[in-house]
Symmetry: C2
Subunit: 152 residues, 2 copies
């Protein structure tokens, strides 16, 4: 059971942007920071834009930045928007796929487990993910914008 790399990359992009929320970053820069494909990241950023999490400024000197404050971006919501399929077994996607679906306690159990999983993620916002801006910034080689409330 894994989240797609797509969702993983989405969250990492948001973490990087949240370190300097007022400034533009480029896809090339973020791809290099994490050592991931610029091609993949372009698709991720497009979908983050459609979902309203980032905004893009075109042209020379352009780039992307957060479209909302980190405290307004729920981690559970990002996963719901970015993960292509959270129906973790076939019967939750298509009840016809399993003949015991109409009486299956297992699908109920798995549904509850997924609800518990998402409820845990709903306790976090992007602001929580960057609660240690200096340590994160040092690991990424990016100076955090605001040392107020910094971690050291």
């Amino acid at each position: 059971m894994r989240l797609t790399a797509y969702t993983d990359f989405s969250l990492r992009v948001l973490i990087r942007l949240a370190l300097r929320p007022a400034e533009l970053a480029t896809i090339a820069e973020i791809a290099a920071l994490y050592g991931i494909s610029e091609h993949h990241l372009t698709k991720v950023v497009h979908k983050l834009g459609v979902a309203g999490y980032v905004e893009t400024v075109r042209g020379r000197g352009g780039g992307l930045r957060l479209a909302k404050s980190p405290a307004q971006i729920g981690v559970g919501d990002v996963v719901r928007r970015m993960e292509p399929d959270l129906r973790i077994v076939a019967c939750l996607r298509d009840a016809e796929s399993c003949r015991i679906a109409p009486a299956c306690v297992l699908s109920t159990a798995l549904g509850r487990a997924l609800t518990a999983f998402m409820a845990e993620l709903d306790r976090y916002t992007l602001a929580d993910l960057v609660a240690k801006p200096r340590r994160l910034g040092r690991l990424l080689g990016v100076e955090p914008a605001d040392p107020v409330g910094a971690d050291e």
Copy 2:
């Protein structure tokens, strides 16, 4: 985010066996019941045997049956044994895969979410999954062994 078909099939095999725990069933029969590949199911049953959930009787008239009572088989434990990888993002498999891993609150959040997911599954045993034996049996075309405590 999906469980593998492997884990899904494992649980479905156990549900079928729990309907008539004392009797032998065959892989061919179970594959036909669920409309899934006999080849896949052979691998699933082998691993269920290694994990101690089923026992196999060889030869003519042979087959497989539960090696424990349904109440002794925890759903969370089956998922832990059968799912190839529950480390839902790359950094939980390999901290080197992401440079912010040492300071990442996201990996903590995802780890807690997975714990909540598994805790919910740990509330169920195989006995709970076959708590409606008559309905399940009718859907599978299998007469439940014991009508005591039946659902209708």
